[in-house]
Symmetry: C2
Subunit: 505 residues, 2 copies
């Protein structure tokens, strides 16, 4: 009996690895599309991608995968629910059941609508005219609602979609923790905004030659522990990180010769994602045991390296002297403390992607609340701009002058990404809670970072988070690592400590 | 009946295009492997490649392809043997029958032996010890002989392998034409070697900054007609050209800052391949009607652009003034005629890949004769070095000092490429014969080239050669385009005219 289960398990593992390998070919196609592909290759690339996705989908949803799962489930092989075999089986079942439930016609209609909605969004944003985008958004919400219905019997209508991004998460919990966060964050941001102390951010807008930025970014990523023998750094329009396979994790950024912060913190962020990918247990490559927990946990890694570490004074104690060497013209005569303050400029602004680490979360809270309201029919699509601007003023103290700088700034909803926004702030919350625990475990991290020693900290991440793959879902992982459930006070404490010193509040 | 055939044809076309699309994903994997892939990604890349190749092979050799072919063959749809449908059907049948005849075990054994033989070859060449490579070579020859036997009932034992590279070609014809070529070429090369006139090749070995070379190479390729909106130029170890799909043809070269000729003529050569690929009829992409005729015809395009055009005086009348602008330091005071002579340096040398356009063919004749003799059991593997050196001295007047510079210099045989070498010289023969006809059709090409006008000539290639895809096999295409069968005298006339003027012979 056990031998039969083992055989079925081995066969399932072989198939799932192969499907993942096929999808990883698609990852390279995607990387190339956003880096080197010549313009006229776009049509062919779309066909290549849809072919690979089609084969992978067909193979994964074949009844044989279900047969194999059934043979393994309930066998001795998976009796220890935290063993690799049990984890792989559980998560393959999870993904299989999700995939199989959504009708093919719905998948295709969503896919077509995404293309149209994205095109409409580009034009609507350029003209700052929400009504041009509204019908596509309404249609997309309807389709996603049908998708959520097909998938599950969750409590809230958008739970099933959140579950795609944050497996095991639920909207009710998020609502609660986000409400707590909002209550503490708004007064903090307000106090900072009213402080008379302001950093001189012109320091970061000087002449930063792109070649020098690239050298500096690579050196920083290497110091953090990113392995360039098993990775790359390339240029693209919007920074991202993608895994092509074991030994091949690629980060991408975008340089601006008159803005040091853009590429640099972009690279620290993406290298944080990359370190997670490089830290997954490679023996299970292609299986859930070597997959990331959730978008939120992935984001916790990138935010931790970008913000908690990359914008810390100790990090710059180590790197500022190096920065002064390579950017000698721009940083001539600049003091460490002024530089440190400049990279920690906090002020209300309209655009999420360039927002600082404190106000960023208010951008997310607002989106989550609106998305949840639309999805539950508490808000009509046409009423989004008004609600957006009202909430924005309430949370950040400023009112978007137009929809391009308001509710039209992000493509997510048009691209069918519902349940995605909250994972950004979940990432920030996780990162602060994890970091507090790492600090308790490892002693004086600040002095380690100031010496350029990141190995013990990376080792801690690998041992406590990376190596588990999807063994635990996000909330269980947080409990296991930190000893308690997710708590917004870690992020608030971190922000308060840092910014009360900087802004004298 | 005809409707049924049409339906079967459409289905076959759909499947074959899809298989080709899958293989084109493999082309991108290969391109990336040789350009940007991080070192540690090699293992994963091999797995990705073998997965895609496996799926493509399985799909192409499925009995359904045969069923569809049978429904189309003999129908009205293919009654005009030169119609696209007939050509596609004929060539898919051809490929199918070949693939289906070779036992899977043999394919796998050849594949494994290639890996081992290539490793042995690298070591043997480094140590210049042929006996280290000999057993692998013997085994490979045996396996390829079995492959040839499995494939067909051809006249000569190596006909079936030649047919892989040069469909429709046969060894007997090649033997004859190569013998004619040898008779005329040896005295010509000898006369050049004994001429007292020698170019000053140090001109090409000066300081040629890589960035400037890249600009110049791109400008030259663009002038020829290579479309960079549907293509790229990248850096790799060994120059090549690869097609990722419609609108995506990539050429690759290798720069040496102290050698202008290496990258430049490499780019002209690869852009010649690229122009062929870009000139194929894109509506048939993925089908034989948009595939190249043979390796020899492909090589005729690259050699024509590299040598007959790229090393012509008229080409440099146009490009030398530009070269002097960009390589102002290296070419300061250099005269056009001295530069022209330097890029046409002819002298016997040991290494094929760096040989000039005249002696190159003697390197090939020697390889073809040895390959044919081994394959027909007229020569034992262990006797290769002796025969190689003897023939080399007879043909080129110099004797290789060791096997690294003799019979160990090329990987082809170890990589299972038998029947491949002759296509290099076939390419040269085709190119001279095609070019003579183009000249007759288009009038004074020299003055067009001197003005930088390559459009009429490229148009001629597209209309006479590129647009046909695989409608004709190589020898029929030569007859159709030039009005007569392949004749070695065009190449000899071209070489004699050019080099008697340069060397005063």
């Amino acid at each position: 009996m056990s031998e039969k289960a083992q055989k079925a398990y081995d066969e399932m593992v072989k198939r799932v690895k192969q499907i993942n390998l096929l999808q990883s070919c698609g990852s390279l196609l995607g990387w190339d599309e956003r880096t080197y592909m010549p313009r006229n290759g776009a049509g062919n690339r779309a066909e290549q991608q849809s072919l690979l996705a089609g084969i992978a989908h067909e193979q994964f949803t074949s009844p044989q995968i279900n047969d194999l799962l059934c043979q393994v489930e309930g066998s001795d092989l998976v009796s220890d629910s935290l063993s690799p075999a049990a984890v792989n089986t559980r998560e393959i079942r999870r993904a299989y059941d999700k995939k199989i439930k959504i009708p093919k016609e719905l998948v295709e209609e969503i896919s077509k609508t995404i293309t149209l909605a994205e095109q409409a969004w580009v034009e609507a944003r350029a003209k700052s005219e929400f009504p041009m985008f509204a019908p596509y958004l309404s249609k997309m919400i309807d389709l996603k609602r049908r998708e959520a219905e097909a998938m599950g019997d969750k409590k809230e209508a958008d739970d099933a979609l959140l579950d795609d991004c944050e497996p095991g998460g639920n909207v009710e919990n998020i609502k609660k923790i986000f409400a707590d966060l909002r209550k503490d964050l708004i007064p903090l941001v307000e106090a900072i905004a009213h402080s008379s102390r302001k950093p001189d951010i012109s320091i970061l807008r000087r002449n930063y030659p792109v070649e020098c930025q690239e050298i500096f970014c690579k050196a920083a990523a290497t110091a953090m522990g990113f392995d360039f023998n098993g990775g790359r750094l390339d240029v693209t329009a919007h920074a991202f990180c993608t895994t092509i396979g074991t030994g091949d994790v690629r980060i991408l950024t975008n340089y601006n010769p008159n803005n040091l912060a853009q590429a640099l913190f972009g690279v620290l962020h993406e290298a944080g994602h990359g370190l997670y990918e490089q830290g997954l247990d490679q023996q299970y490559f292609g299986l859930p045991m070597a997959d990331s927990v959730s978008l939120g946990i992935h984001e916790s890694q990138s935010r931790m390296w970008e913000n908690i570490i990359g914008r810390s004074r100790s990090f710059w104690e180590c790197f500022f002297p190096r920065a002064r060497q390579i950017f000698w013209e721009a940083l001539n005569g600049v003091k460490l403390d002024d530089f440190y303050f400049a990279v920690n400029d906090v002020r209300p602004s309209f655009i999420r992607v360039t927002a600082d680490e404190a106000t960023y979360n208010l951008h997310i809270l607002l989106r989550f609340e609106i998305e949840h309201a639309i999805f539950n029919n508490d808000l009509k699509t046409n009423d989004i701009p008004g609600v957006w601007n009202e909430k924005f003023e309430e949370y950040l103290g400023i009112r978007p002058p137009d929809d391009a700088r308001g509710c039209l700034q992000d493509v997510h909803w048009g691209a069918g990404l519902v349940g995605y926004f909250p994972t950004y702030t979940l990432g920030n919350l996780y990162s602060a809670q994890f970091f507090a625990k790492a600090k308790a475990d490892l002693g004086n991290l600040d002095s380690q970072f100031a010496r350029g020693e990141f190995k013990p900290f990376l080792g801690w991440l690998r041992q406590n988070i990376h190596c588990h793959g999807r063994r635990y879902n996000a909330s269980d992982l947080v409990k296991k690592v930190t000893g308690q459930p997710l708590n917004h006070s870690y992020l608030i404490d971190y922000l308060k400590t840092k910014y009360s010193a900087l802004y004298g509040i």
